[in-house]
């Protein structure tokens, strides 16, 4: 082990990535029945990871070349599969993001999950996620990345289905798992193609070879498109975007950590990880751009039609991920990564704020929260407004800077239609964000003429909200029970501050992060600045664009204010007047229904049938037949073994005689 202690960087890396694994094992094996201890172990591990990640960043910030530690894991002829660590600006940045948000969410969960019967299990899964995500981030090779990518998916599945007694949670978990796996099949095929055609899955090697045009272009295009399937699944891009809203079945901190800030961003991260590789294929980039755009627009419209507070942020996450993919696919490496970073901060913030509301009012419905007096919760209300402003791209919040960066990249793109789509997206984003804010801030007086149900007749998820209610209520009640051991007031105060501090920290990050754009840019692009030269200039240079984008955001806010905020507003929104459109948006453009039908017809009706028949007749039948044959021949041979001695000796002598005869003749 002495090699470990000789190099502090390696030691920090190992500690950073493997302590959460250790904590998971300890919790699952030893401390399952001691929830308090489990949470301390998990938080202890993740805070150590955070410190190590910070140390690594500080230590390596000025190292120009990527630092790589690798050991050959599998060697087959000339194909070597490495395992280890790759530290370059991108992975260091992402490692820090993951560590920070994991840490904050785990602290926040102390309050949110207090008293839950699965408290230990929750922290074990959180540790599992932290371990898998960090090891994915620092992977030097695509296979390691893929392995931990799947483990991250497993953590996601377990956490979505955390309330497994609830049917819809189990379903949502399965849906998430299957849909992401569907994309991963493409990812894996792409890797296989790459191994066969190129023979090296090292990230640095792939990027360099692609830049040096050492890989034939058809191979790059084919494998890049296949690998992009993984991004589609993981980052919930069109057409596999519907699992993410359903994933909101999990506890809210999980939504904040996995399904907005980090795990779903893994797809975008992977895209930027092998960005030069993707960039070598214009076809793949164009397709990615189109998919990102479609995703962004579609999910923005969906967000306008829901009343579930978490759903709004979920759709918004999908649309922002699409926006990041747009930025990357348009050639804006820094813009995409920068938006990923800021988005991780403010979206986690939005979710955690929503969590406070849900925890307090036992409802996911923004109208209920508004009527219950959501505005009286000052800290989360202010924080959420800050988050929404950042999301809408208003100066000086972090979202403004990163959105501008992407807009700048889109504006530089020859075809202006993408820019228009981006601007449209910005408008809708601001609209749905502030629709939510205003509905909570300025609740409408209860109107007897309008039956409550009529408003959301189209909602497919009514029952779900109902169950969420009870769940949250149960959790809350238990929280009180738990707190009572310290005295009621104090207990409640603790719970509140556990949840409040992460909000305040994230708000601060959201406020200041934008001003670090240039230092971040220098850090990320660093030595590669020539390759992506001048990319950063757009945001500052094009004042027209700046004004257009900001005014789109402001217009969205004004529009939302007109419909929801001002005195005497109907709070119905323009969609209520277009019932067909509203139904279309609320039902997610019928993507789910289409997939369902496709599944029933083509898969279950056709393929599955054929395979089942093949399984029963050919495979089972064949094996049965083979077994019968084997046993039968056993019976047959056993006749050689009769009890008659003279016969036995005859067999023996005959056999030897035959052998002798064979040699002599």
């Amino acid at each position: 082990m002495s090699w470990l202690f000789k190099d502090p960087v390696l030691l920090a890396a190992v500690l950073c990535t493997w302590l959460p694994f250790l904590s998971m094992a300890v919790i699952l094996i030893f401390t399952r029945h001691k929830p308090q201890l489990s949470s301390y172990i998990s938080i202890g591990a993740v805070s150590t990871s955070l410190i190590c990640a910070l140390y690594l960043l500080i230590k390596l910030v000025h190292v120009g070349e990527p630092v790589e530690y690798r050991t050959a894991w599998l060697i087959a002829d000339d194909i070597i599969i490495p395992f280890g660590y790759l530290f370059d600006p991108l992975s260091l940045l992402m490692l820090l993001i993951v560590a920070v948000i994991s840490f904050l969410v785990q602290v926040y969960s102390l309050g949110y999950m207090a008293g839950d019967p699965g408290f230990s299990r929750y922290y074990a899964f959180q540790s599992l996620f932290a371990w898998a995500m960090m090891d994915m981030v620092i992977a030097p090779g695509m296979l390691q990345l893929y392995i931990f990518w799947e483990l991250v998916g497993l953590a996601s599945y377990l956490l979505i289905g955390f309330y497994y007694e609830k049917w819809s949670a189990g379903q949502a978990g399965k849906k998430a798992f299957v849909m992401t796996r569907l994309g991963d099949i493409g990812f894996f095929l792409g890797l296989i193609l790459l191994v066969l055609g190129f023979g090296d899955l090292g990230i640095v090697a792939m990027n360099e070879a692609a830049q040096a045009q050492a890989i034939p272009s058809y191979l790059i295009t084919a494998s890049a498109l296949l690998i992009f399937c993984g991004v589609i699944g993981k980052s919930a891009q069109f057409p596999l975007l519907t699992w993410l809203p359903d994933a909101m079945e999990g506890p809210t901190p999980v939504s904040a950590l996995l399904h907005s800030a980090t795990m779903v961003a893994a797809g975008v991260y992977m895209f930027s990880r092998i960005f030069p590789f993707f960039a070598a294929s214009p076809t793949a980039m164009a397709i990615a751009l189109a998919i990102g755009t479609i995703t962004m627009l579609l999910s923005s419209t969906m967000a306008m039609a829901t009343y579930d507070i978490k759903q709004v942020w979920a759709y918004s996450t999908v649309s922002q991920l699409g926006f990041m993919v747009m930025g990357l696919a348009a050639g804006g490496y820094f813009a995409g990564v920068f938006h990923l970073t800021t988005h991780a901060g403010f979206k986690a913030l939005l979710f955690l704020c929503s969590g406070v509301f849900i925890h307090e009012y036992h409802s996911n419905d923004m109208r209920d929260i508004g009527k219950g007096g959501g505005r009286s919760l000052k800290i989360p209300m202010v924080c959420m407004t800050v988050g929404a402003l950042a999301l809408s791209g208003v100066f000086p919040f972090s979202g403004f800077f990163s959105k501008e960066a992407i807009m700048g990249v889109l504006a530089a793109y020859p075809n202006k239609i993408w820019l228009l789509a981006g601007l449209l997206g910005a408008l809708m984003t601001a609209y749905y964000s502030f629709r939510l804010i205003f509905m909570i801030l300025f609740p409408k007086k209860v109107d007897a003429t309008m039956p409550h149900d009529a408003v959301h007749y189209h909602q497919e998820k009514d029952d779900k909200i109902q169950i969420d209610h009870e769940e949250a209520a149960a959790g809350h009640g238990a929280a009180h029970g738990h707190g009572s051991s310290h005295g009621h007031e104090e207990g409640h105060g603790n719970v509140f501050w556990y949840m409040a501090w992460p909000l305040i920290i994230l708000t601060t990050i959201t406020l200041v992060l934008g001003f670090f754009q240039h230092s971040l840019e220098g850090f990320l692009l660093g030595h590669a600045a020539d390759a992506h030269g001048g990319e950063g200039g757009h945001g500052a240079g094009h004042y027209a664009l700046l004004i257009a984008a900001v005014s789109m955001g402001l217009a969205g806010i004004a529009w939302a204010y007109y419909e929801f905020g001002r005195k005497g507003a109907s709070q119905e929104g323009f969609l209520a007047r277009l019932p067909k459109t509203q139904a279309l948006f609320a039902n997610r453009w019928y993507i789910d229904r289409f997939l369902r039908r496709f599944l029933d017809r083509a898969i279950y009706g056709g393929l599955t049938n054929v395979f089942t028949r093949n399984d029963r007749r050919v495979i089972d039948g064949g094996i049965d037949g083979f077994c019968l044959f084997t046993i039968g021949s056993g019976r047959l041979f056993s006749f050689l073994q009769s009890g008659m001695l003279q016969y036995n000796l005859l067999v023996m002598v005959a056999a030897v005689g035959l052998v002798v005869l064979y040699f002599v003749v």
């Binding site: 084997t630 023996m652 052998v659 040699f663």
Partner: protein
């Protein structure tokens, strides 16, 4: 160093035989005391074998050679004997008046086999073989309820003497061809003669005596009846210790040909395939577990032959390793059988039902032993099969290895039937609990650890077997 020092392990076993001969003359038999003495003496025997492991030299007019190869096998023999004696705490299969004789013949048989692995002169080899064989004939016939099982003893004797006849006949051919009975001379001359049918016929006939002991097809016919008909402890002895001696002498004899004759190798390949396939297929339909293990032993003789017929040092080393592995695994299975059938009856597979509740430790031992026999990692059986197959592949016997692997799969079927009985089936009528004393317990734990440890960290054992294989041809 005095030359007789080289002969110390054998002398020690002679001494033991004398002691038990004296005890057998007593009018009154005291099984417990006999058992205690036997355990202590054979335990010391293992110690003696360990201490003499590094001896080297020639004695008795160069007819007897002590080297690492022979000493390794002597150690295995001593170990096997000790283990078998250790399990004789309830020697119910044999009349209590004959217990002293049982130990006497067991030790003489071990002595004969120890001489066999050291003998390097054809007549010495023949005498050693006969010495051990006659003891076994007597041991088999010693079972209680003699009427029922007398037939077994007679059959064993008849088949055995026929095989001996073949062997002497073959030896006479070899002598006729080479005018020498010394192995060292034979090894120089014989490879040059391997094109001549007479030499091959002589070698094959001589080998058939050892194939008989090894229960290789077509000299296997005694095995099922004898396994079933002998007392459980005797079966254990035949299945473990006596297999070691057979492996040792077959390796030495096959080495005579020096790999010069393609025809000879082809013959061994055919015998190996037939042995594996026949053993495994017939084992599938067995109901009696001892009979099942008899057929399994026929198959294992085939696997071991794959290593031997590679005719390289590595092949021989792999066969030695396989023998070691086989000793441990097979003994583990038999020990469990002995303890469950402690009244000495023949155990049916279905009687194992619910074993995991009656005695989890024994069930575990049995499972690992059977997994080992089937060649499932991480047990020692996997490593053994791997080494044997690897050695054969190095020589290009791909088809043979594939057939061997198919056979391993077939064998898994009947091993799993036994494991299923032990772990998954519930007994119809509850069987009495298994009595496991602390000796058995510690031996079982030792075997479990050994099966896994030697399987996962085979390096030092492989190095030992390779050194032993090297000393074979110096």
């Amino acid at each position: 160093m005095m030359k007789w020092v080289l002969f110390i392990p054998e002398l020690y076993y002679v001494l033991m035989a004398v002691v038990f001969f004296a005890l057998s003359l007593q009018r009154k038999s005291e099984p417990r005391r006999l058992y205690t003495w036997a355990v202590i003496l054979s335990g010391v025997g293992v110690l003696v074998a360990v201490l003499s492991a590094r001896l080297e030299g020639m004695v008795f007019f160069d007819a007897y050679r002590v080297d690492l190869y022979s000493q390794v096998f002597k150690l295995l023999l001593a170990l096997g004997t000790f283990w078998v004696v250790l399990t004789c705490s309830e020697l119910e299969g044999i009349d209590s008046r004959q217990h002293a004789e049982f130990y006497l013949f067991t030790f003489i048989c071990t002595l004969g086999m120890m001489m066999l692995v050291s003998a390097v002169e054809l007549l010495t080899i023949y005498i050693s073989v006969e010495l051990s064989s006659y003891c076994l004939y007597l041991l088999v016939a010693m079972r209680r309820k003699t009427d029922e099982f007398a037939e077994t003893g007679i059959k064993y004797f008849m088949v055995g003497s026929t095989a001996s006849g073949f062997m002497v006949f073959g030896i006479s051919y070899l002598f006729g061809m080479t005018h020498t009975t010394y192995v060292a001379e034979l090894m120089k001359v014989l490879p040059g003669m391997m094109t001549e049918p007479a030499a091959i016929v002589g070698l094959v006939l001589a080998l058939s005596g050892f194939f008989f002991k090894q229960a290789l097809f077509p000299f296997h016919i005694w095995a099922p009846d004898v396994y079933q008909g002998a007392a459980n402890q005797v079966t254990t002895y035949i299945a473990t210790a006596s297999k070691m001696a057979a492996a040792a002498i077959v390796i030495r004899f096959v080495g005579f040909s020096g790999g010069e004759s393609a025809v000879f190798i082809k013959l061994l390949v055919v015998l190996s395939i037939l042995s594996m396939t026949f053993g495994n297929l017939v084992a599938i339909i067995q109901k009696d577990i001892k009979r099942l293990l008899a057929y399994s032993s026929i198959a294992h003789a085939g696997y071991m032959m794959i290593g031997i017929l590679s005719m390289t040092q590595r092949g021989y080393a792999s066969a030695i390793y396989y023998a070691l592995a086989y000793l441990i695994m097979n003994f583990a299975c038999f020990m469990v059988i002995l303890k469950i059938a402690d009244d000495g009856h023949n155990l049916k597979i279905k009687e194992l039902a619910g074993l995991h509740k009656r005695s989890p430790l024994l069930a575990m031992t049995l499972m690992l032993g059977l997994f080992g026999l089937a060649g499932i990692p991480p047990t020692v059986g996997f490593t053994g099969k791997f080494l044997v197959f690897a050695a054969a592949l190095e020589q290009g016997y791909l088809t043979l290895v594939i057939i061997g692997m198919i056979n391993a799969t077939i064998s898994l079927y009947y091993y799993l039937i036994v494991i299923k009985a032990a772990y998954l089936l519930e007994p119809v009528n509850p069987y009495p609990p298994v009595r496991v004393d602390k000796w058995t317990k510690s031996l079982a734990i030792f075997l479990v650890i050994a099966m896994v440890y030697v399987g996962i960290f085979p390096d030092q054992f492989v190095a030992l077997t390779e050194a032993a294989a090297r000393s074979l041809f110096i």
